[in-house]
């Protein structure tokens, strides 16, 4: 994470420095898009959420408090916006295994691509709150403490959510023959 640098960039952004904004954009566009994609399982929805996230960042430039780290702020917006998106599209409930299944026979599922697809499908079977901790941990590489900061929950809760989320993923992947 690049927090001191991010804060300086945010300060410059709030003064209308386009170059600073571009630097932040280059740094966070892909993680934000990927987090939204893993939360929503749709590149189109992820694109729209990414736009909303950055717009919200600009909208609240003057409200950003530098005592908080920028990444935790933008990732929190990303996850909240993703969950809002799921609510708006009535997709808040975790999908059942059948609905989330991306297809393919058992013999094909051994490939990496299939595993990745199966993993994404399994992710969609767990609740958005569980999905969020998995995304933060495994996609965005956040520590327990950072996840706690992003989600504004105690570290113990982060650990228990991670544990439960992983248990559910294991069960789902086992049912699909993708995990022993």
């Amino acid at each position: 994470m690049n927090e001191p640098d991010d804060i300086k960039l945010m300060e410059r952004c709030s003064k209308g420095d386009r170059q600073a904004f571009e630097t932040l954009l280059v740094r966070y566009e892909k993680p934000v898009f990927n987090a939204a994609y893993r939360m929503l399982n749709s590149p189109d929805d992820a694109r729209d959420v990414t736009q909303t996230v950055f717009l919200k960042v600009f909208e609240h430039l003057d409200q950003y408090d530098p005592k908080y780290r920028f990444f935790s702020w933008i990732y929190r917006i990303t996850l909240n916006e993703s969950i809002n998106w799921l609510k708006k599209s009535n997709r808040l409930d975790a999908l059942d295994g059948d609905t989330a299944d991306t297809g393919g026979g058992p013999e094909q599922e051994a490939s990496n691509a299939q595993l990745s697809e199966g993993m994404q499908a399994a992710l969609m079977t767990i609740s958005p709150e569980y999905r969020a901790v998995i995304v933060l941990k495994h996609l965005l590489g956040c520590s327990y403490q950072e996840i706690s900061e992003v989600l504004e929950i105690p570290e113990n809760k982060v650990k228990s959510r991670l544990y439960s989320a992983r248990q559910l993923l294991q069960e789902n992947l086992t049912e699909r023959g993708l995990h022993r």
Binding site: C13, S14, K15, G16, D17, R18, F21, E22, L25, V26, E29, K30, F33, N34, Y37, R38, P43, D44, A46, R47, D48, T50, Q51, T52, F54, L55, K56, F58, E59, L61, D62, W85, K88, S89, N112, L115, S116, M119, Q120, I134, K137, H138, L139, S143, Y144, K159, L162, Y163, R166, L169, Q170, L173, H179, R180
Partner: protein, 254 residues
């Protein structure tokens, strides 16, 4: 499972790289003695490896361009301008235009049922952040509609090559409005609405079809690259029946 929950926590912490020296030693002792513990460890490690190995997806190639056009210009954020000023502000148009330019080709090929209106939902709320509230696009004409089914105004504005058709209408029942533009070089460039629902839009070559019900305020953005004189014919229909026709002109009398 007969494993003490404490060891599950240590196993997870070890795999996540969040274990301290004392915990590590305790876990090692436990794993050395427990086949079940080792199996749990390996299972979780395998799962985490698979999760870590999920590939990063490339964001759409035009996304950064769109986002860059949302950037603050050269000044610090201003106090929020009026809602309608937000829509008709110059930089806002820049954003909406750029955003819409990227979707326009798609929109031109699709009917409204295939367009995710949600993509536009935040436009009106968002443009305020980059709005220059001192600029309001000049008007080129207004038509009034006063029918039992629908009443209100439609105003044509412009800024640079962008024509803005500003609808402020109240309909008692679902109505369809067909806006046809005379010059085929004009293309649909975007759509913004104050309400997040209630109006749908479909763009085709040379025309835009809007469907609405209730009191609505929205704007259709058209790109008129040569800034040539143009006529926009508006046809208001209810249940497939034409109830009103009107025309807005750009350029000739300006």
């Amino acid at each position: 499972m007969t494993i003490d929950p404490r060891y599950f926590e240590l196993i997870q912490a070890a795999i996540d790289g969040e274990i301290d020296a004392a915990g590590k030693a305790e876990l090692e002792t436990f794993l050395a003695e427990s086949d079940e513990g080792r199996a749990v460890y390996e299972d979780l490690a395998t799962l985490c490896q698979s999760l870590d190995g999920m590939p990063e997806i490339d964001s759409p190639p035009h996304l950064r361009h769109i986002l860059l056009n949302m950037a603050p210009a050269t000044s610090a954020p201003r106090p929020a301008p009026g809602v309608w000023q937000r829509i008709f502000s110059g930089p806002a148009l820049g954003y909406i235009g750029m955003f819409a330019a990227c979707v326009a080709l798609t929109l031109a090929l699709l009917d409204s049922g295939q367009i995710s209106r949600d993509a536009f939902d935040d436009v009106t709320g968002l443009v305020g952040t980059i709005a220059n509230s001192e600029f309001v696009a000049p008007e080129h004409g207004t038509i009034s509609v006063d029918k039992s089914e629908v009443a209100g105004t439609v105003t044509l504005r412009s800024t640079g090559p962008i024509l803005i058709v500003d609808f402020d209408l109240s309909a008692k029942q679902p109505i369809r409005i067909l806006a046809e533009y005379s010059d085929k070089s004009i293309w649909f460039n975007g759509f913004a609405q104050l309400e997040s629902t209630g109006t749908s839009i479909a763009a085709d070559s040379g025309a835009v079809t809007l469907e609405m019900d209730g009191k609505r305020r929205y704007a259709v953005y058209l790109n008129n690259p040569g800034q040539r004189p143009a006529t926009i014919n508006l046809r208001f229909m209810v249940g497939g029946e034409l109830i009103h026709e009107a025309q807005l002109n750009y350029g000739e009398s300006d």
